[in-house]
C-alpha cells in the first residue's frame, strides 16, 4: 500500500526548500553590486528584482512551513530535486529581464544549464551582454558545481542528520570530514582557494595576451568558475576560441582536470598524501579513459587530415576531448565543425569521453570514473573465477583513499547508475531523432546534455523545438542529481495521487 504524504512531509520540504531559495537568492547580490559599481544600472535592477522575488518566496515558505523537525530520507531527496527546479525558475528572472533571450523558457534552459554545469546555451548576442549578467552566468556554474544545497548546508543548517540526506541527494555520497556540514564547508574552501589562484593565473595570461587589467581579471574569474566547476560558459560567443592563446588553453585544461578530481582526493593531497593521485582507482581510470578516447578521436581526425600538425591536433582534438571528458564543454572549434569536418570515428571518441565523465564527489556529470573502474574490476574478478580452480577464493580490491575489497552491492550500484545514464542518453537521442535530427547529431547533443558537458554540434539553438529544450532541461537536471532524488520526487507525486 502506498501512503499519501502527510502535512509534516509538506512542511519539512517547504521549510528547507525556503531556506535554500533564500541562500541562492542572496547570491544575486554579487552581480547586483558589480552592476551598480560599473554603472550598469538596468542590469543591477534585474538582479534586485530576482533577489526580491527569491526572498519573498523563501520567507513565505519558511514561515508557512516552519518546523524544527529534521528531514527523513524521502523529504531530503525531494528538497534537493525541488530546490534545483525552484532556483532554475528564480535564477532565470534576471537573465530573462536582460532582453538577451527569446523566451522565458530559453532563460530557464540557460539557468539549468548553468546550475547543472552543462554549458549549453540559448542566449542571443552574448557579446553585448553586461558584466553583471555575464558574472551571474558564471557564478551559477560555480554555485551549481559546488552544489546549491551545499550553500544552505554550509550557512543555514544546524541538524547534521537531515543535512546528510540532502548532501547525498545532490549526488555527493562521500564524507570528506566526519561531519557533513564541515564537509560542505571544506568543499567551499577548496573552491574558493582555487578560485583565487585560478583567477590570478588566467587573468595574468589574458593580460599578457593583450587584454586590459580589468577585462583580464574579469575573464579570468569567469573562465575559472566555469572551468573548475566543469561548466563551459564563457564571457564571449566564441567560447575559448576568442582568446586565440595556447597558454590559456593549457591553463584551462589544467583547471578542468582539477575540477574533475574527487574533492576527497583534493583533501588528501592537501594533507600531504600525494601518492594517492597515482594509485587512486578514479585517477588511474581517468588517465586510461582519456588516453583511450583520445586515441579514437586522433585516429578519426588523422583520417580527415584536417589537423596535420601535432600542435593543431593537441589544441583541437585533445582540447575538445578533455573538455568533453571532464564535462566542461569548452570549445576551440565551432559547433558546426564537429559535424562538417570531424568524421564519425572522431565524434565517437568524444561521445564516449562525454558519457564517461570525471570523478565522483567532483563537479563533473556522467557515469563517473569510480563506477567505470568498479565495473572493470568486477569483470576482471568474473574472468578470474572462470580461469581459476573452483576451490579458489577470488578477491578483488581497489584503492580509493584506502584499500577497498570489491563487494557485489558496489558493483550492483555502479551498474544501476551506469544503466540509468545510458538510458538517459538514449532517450534524449530518440527525442532528437523523432524531431528530425540525424542519429549521430542527436546522440552527441543528448549525451552532452545528460552528462552535463555542454559541447554542441549545432542542434542547441534558440530555434530548436520547445519540446527538445524541455527534454534537455530534464536531462541536465536528472543527470546532475544522479537520478535518485528525481525518482524520489516522481514517487512522491505518485503517492500524493494514488496513496491512501
Amino acid at each position: 500500500m502506498i501512503l499519501r504524504p502527510c502535512l509534516d512531509d509538506i512542511k519539512n520540504i517547504g521549510y528547507y526548500l525556503g531556506k535554500i531559495i533564500i541562500g541562492v537568492g542572496l547570491t544575486m547580490l554579487v552581480p547586483a553590486i558589480l552592476g551598480f559599481s560599473l554603472g550598469e544600472i538596468n542590469p543591477a535592477l534585474d538582479f534586485l528584482a530576482g533577489l526580491e522575488i527569491s526572498l519573498i518566496f523563501g520567507f513565505l515558505l519558511t514561515k508557512l512551513c516552519f518546523t524544527e523537525k529534521d528531514t527523513n530520507w524521502m523529504q531530503g531527496m525531494i528538497v534537493v530535486s525541488l530546490s534545483w527546479l525552484a532556483v532554475m525558475f528564480l535564477g532565470a528572472i534576471p537573465l530573462y529581464l536582460s532582453g538577451h533571450f527569446k523566451s522565458y523558457l530559453d532563460a530557464c534552459f540557460d539557468t539549468m544549464s548553468g546550475f547543472a554545469t552543462t554549458g549549453l546555451s540559448l542566449i542571443q548576442d552574448l557579446d553585448h551582454l553586461s558584466y553583471a549578467h555575464n558574472l551571474w552566468r558564471h557564478l551559477i556554474m560555480f554555485i551549481g558545481g559546488q552544489g546549491i544545497v551545499i550553500i544552505a548546508l554550509s550557512f543555514f543548517m544546524k541538524g547534521a542528520s537531515g543535512a546528510f540526506k540532502m548532501y547525498v541527494g545532490e549526488a555527493r555520497d562521500e564524507r570528506i570530514k566526519p561531519n557533513v556540514i564541515h564537509t560542505s564547508r571544506f568543499i567551499w574552501l577548496v573552491g574558493l582557494v582555487y578560485l583565487v589562484l585560478g583567477t590570478l593565473a588566467l587573468g595574468l595570461i589574458a593580460f599578457l595576451e593583450g587584454m586590459g587589467p580589468f577585462n583580464a581579471l574579469f575573464h579570468g574569474a569567469c573562465v575559472f568558475m566555469a572551468a573548475f566547476d566543469t561548466g563551459g560558459f564563457s564571457p564571449q560567443s566564441q567560447n575559448i576560441l576568442y582568446y586565440h592563446s595556447l597558454s590559456f588553453e593549457i591553463a584551462t585544461i589544467t583547471i578542468m582536470l582539477l575540477g574533475a578530481i574527487n574533492f576527497r582526493l583534493h583533501y588528501h593531497v592537501w594533507m600531504g598524501n600525494r601518492k594517492e593521485i597515482f594509485r587512486n582507482i578514479e585517477t588511474v581510470t581517468l588517465f586510461i579513459a582519456i588516453i583511450s578516447t583520445f586515441f579514437i578521436t586522433a585516429a578519426g581526425l588523422a583520417q580527415t587530415g584536417i589537423y596535420p600538425q601535432a600542435m593543431a591536433l593537441f589544441r583541437k582534438g585533445f582540447y575538445q576531448l578533455v573538455s568533453g571528458h571532464t564535462g566542461t564543454g569548452y570549445m576551440t572549434v565551432y559547433a558546426k565543425q564537429f559535424i562538417n569536418e570531424w568524421n564519425h570515428l572522431a565524434l565517437s571518441g568524444v561521445i564516449c569521453a562525454m558519457a564517461l565523465g570525471g570523478a565522483v564527489c567532483s563537479t563533473t556529470g556522467a557515469i563517473k570514473m569510480l563506477r567505470v573502474g568498479i565495473i572493470f574490476k568486477a569483470m576482471k574478478q568474473d574472468i578470474k573465477r572462470i580461469i581459476f580452480p573452483p576451490q579458489a577464493v577470488v578477491l578483488e580490491k581497489f584503492h580509493h583513499i584506502k584499500k577497498v575489497f570489491l563487494e557485489d552491492k558496489q558493483v550492483r550500484s555502479a551498474l544501476m547508475i551506469t544503466l540509468a545514464y545510458l538510458l538517459l542518453y538514449g532517450i534524449g537521442a530518440l527525442v532528437g531523432m523523432w524531431l528530425g535530427y540525424p542519429f549521430l547529431d542527436s546522440l552527441f547533443e543528448s549525451t552532452s546534455a545528460a552528462a552535463n558537458v555542454g559541447l554542441s554540434c549545432g542542434i542547441t539553438n534558440a530555434a530548436m523545438p520547445a519540446s527538445l529544450k524541455i527534454t534537455y532541461i530534464v536531462q541536465m537536471w536528472t543527470g546532475r542529481l544522479e537520478f535518485m532524488s528525481v525518482f524520489t520526487l516522481l514517487g512522491f507525486c505518485w503517492a500524493a495521487i494514488k496513496g491512501k
Binding site: H128, Q238, Q309, T332
Partner: protein, 167 residues
C-alpha cells in the same frame, strides 16, 4: 627586345594565363561572405582570399606587431589576425556599452590555420572601417525601476507579517 616580347599579343595572353593559373589558390571572393557560409563550407574557402564583414567585438588583443580581433556578423564571430597598422583607425569595439565598428576585412581564410594551432581564422590583408561604432546611451528603464519598488514593498510587507506573527 624585352619590351617587344611583352607587347607581343601571344606573350601577353600566355602571361595572363600564367598569372591566372598561379593565382588560383588565392581566388578572390569579391562580395562579403557570411560567417555561417565560411564555417559550414570551410573546406571550399580554405586558403582563398575572402571578404568578410562584421562588428568588431570584445577586446583587440595585441601580439607583437600583430593583433587579434574578433568580428561578429550577427551569426558568429571569426578571429582576424592582422598587422597592427591595419587596425589603427578603429574607434569602438562592441560591448554592453558600445556598438563596435563595422569592418570589411579582405584576407586569406584558413579552415585550420597551422600558424595558429588549427584555428579557423582570417589573415587580414586590408581592413576598411565601413561604419564607425558608437557608445550606447545608458538610460534608466523606469518600468524596471517601478517593478523593483513594487517588489520592495511586497518584501517589506512579508517581513512585517513575519515579525507580527512571531511577536
Amino acid at each position: 627586345m624585352m619590351l617587344k616580347r611583352i607587347l607581343n599579343p601571344l606573350w601577353f595572353i600566355n602571361g595572363l594565363l600564367f598569372a591566372a593559373f598561379f593565382s588560383f589558390p588565392l581566388a578572390v571572393y569579391a562580395q562579403a561572405i557570411p560567417s555561417s557560409e565560411l564555417i559550414n563550407n570551410a573546406k571550399q574557402y580554405d586558403g582563398k582570399a575572402v571578404v568578410y564583414e562584421g562588428e568588431v567585438i570584445g577586446v583587440i588583443m595585441e601580439r607583437g606587431g600583430h593583433v587579434w580581433l574578433n568580428v561578429n556578423d550577427g551569426k558568429n564571430s571569426i578571429g582576424i589576425w592582422a598587422q597592427r597598422n591595419l587596425v589603427s583607425a578603429l574607434h569602438h569595439a562592441g560591448s554592453y556599452k558600445a556598438k563596435g565598428d563595422w569592418l570589411a576585412i579582405s584576407g586569406i581564410f584558413h579552415r585550420a590555420c597551422l600558424e595558429h594551432g588549427g584555428d579557423l581564422d582570417i589573415h587580414a590583408l586590408r581592413i576598411d572601417n565601413i561604419k564607425p561604432g558608437k557608445a550606447i546611451p545608458q538610460r534608466l528603464n523606469t518600468g524596471k525601476m517601478h517593478f523593483v519598488l513594487l517588489l520592495t514593498g511586497v518584501l517589506c510587507l512579508v517581513l512585517i507579517l513575519r515579525q507580527l506573527k512571531r511577536s
